[in-house]
Amino acid sequence: MVEPVLTLSHLQKSFGALKATDDVSLTLIPGEIHALIGPNGAGKSTLIGQIAGKIAPDSGTITFRGRDVTQLSTAQRARLGLGRSFQISSLIPEFSARRNVMLALQARQGHPFRFLKPVQRDRGLIAGAQAILTRVGMAGRASVPSAELSHGERRLLEIAMALALEPACFLLDEPMAGMGTEGVGKLVSFLQDLKQQAPILLVEHDMDAVFALADRITVLVYGQIIASGSVEDIRHDPRVREAYLGDPA
């Protein structure tokens, strides 16, 4: 078996009496899209937050590329190669789309304490950012400040920033949300390519997309994993139908 990129073992997180994450263990192996689905409030974003380093788990460990990262800060994990997108868009509002991506690129290259060399004339950064924006279909909007982008465009920029980090794995929290049917279609084929580059832990409510993309699906309900398996297994699992999928429309 291939060595997993990311391993969660026995993660536990409570908010007061609420167990948001209840003994969750899962892995992400190279080349796969691992979809994490579950009802609203099941604890998916909380789990992503713990992996990314925003929320400290009460117990359990997170192993990333063979290293225990449970105690590291968000920034440290990002530098190790964890790239995340936010469920609610989180961008640098005054920066143009291009500069947002450049920021991610520069952070990946390190040297944050370079005080004197001008970035704006850094050809490498600019070209790199432009290439990534082209990849997500935002080339034409590169110089628009991100505050002035429409909702859907911001979602695309989120993806672009995650790409720029060239991470060893992607944590994508509802990347399809807010995208039109057209956009979802594009993104699906895009993610299909992307997983070759790095495996993806995908949280998504758009089931058409999930079923089209996922190699494995884990279902979270009330913080617990109730099922895990292939698309077919999950699609027909009665517990999942009841808790999450509802009647096929």
Partner: protein, 229 residues
């Protein structure tokens, strides 16, 4: 049937850049209208303008028989426009119940009824809104708009990020609300779910209303041309 909301030829600017170039739209009493279009075409801008959160540079908005083009937004809301905004925008530091109470105006929708409608909001009553899950926040935003006892419910991407079961519930709820006589203006990305609810569809393209008709009139050709399918 009378027109509850009528939008005529509105043009809107963000700073120096124009976002709307003439949008027309009518919602009749008791009707559900769907506003459609690709990303960035101006749906949200249209909605913000008719809720008076953004000023129209040109054009008129009438609601319930009076022009509201220059009314402050709180007055427009008091006339009966209930907004579920894009991105939810719950009051982050308030509890769930406080969010609902903040919006309350007298009418058929009370705290109990809203909590009955979305039981999850009763379960999470004392929790701070910022810590709710995305879907819970969405429910809260709808519940909050209902608490204002609106005549027209305006939903901008109200099912975004919701689990399929909940979405089905929400669509059912929207249908139920419509059946109770509430007028509805709705923006959503999922056409398959939108079509059964809408009486009329209006399509925006680059800040202009370019097509309108009943859902059944939407041909594959139109879908391809305006919605990118």
């Amino acid at each position: 049937m009378t027109d509850l909301l009528r939008v005529e030829g509105i043009e809107v600017f963000y700073g120096a850049s124009q976002a709307l170039f003439g949008v027309d739209l009518t919602v009749q009493e008791g009707q559900a209208v769907a506003l459609m279009g690709r990303n960035g075409m101006g749906k949200t801008t249209t909605i913000r303008t008719l809720c008076r959160l953004h000023a129209a540079y040109r054009g008129q908005v009438w609601f319930a028989g009076q022009t509201i083009t220059t009314l402050p937004s709180y007055k427009a809301a008091r006339l009966g426009i209930g907004l579920v905004p894009e991105g939810r925008r719950c009051f982050a530091t308030l509890t769930v119940t406080e969010n609902l109470i903040a919006a309350a105006r007298p009418g058929a929708w009370t705290l109990e009824r809203v909590q009955g409608f979305f039981p999850r909001l009763a379960e999470r009553a004392g929790q701070q809104a910022s810590t709710l899950s995305g879907g819970e926040q969405q429910m809260l935003a709808i519940g909050r708009a209902l608490m204002t006892n609106p005549r027209l419910l305006v939903l901008d991407e109200a099912t975004e990020g919701l689990a399929p079961v909940i979405r089905q519930e929400i669509w059912a709820a929207i249908r139920a609300l419509k059946a109770q006589g509430l007028s509805i203006l709705v923006v959503d990305k999922t056409l398959s779910e939108l079509k059964p609810v809408a009486d009329t569809c209006v399509i925006l393209e680059r800040g202009q209303s370019v097509w309108s008709g009943t859902p059944s009139q939407i041909t594959p050709e139109i879908e391809h041309r305006y919605l990118g399918l």
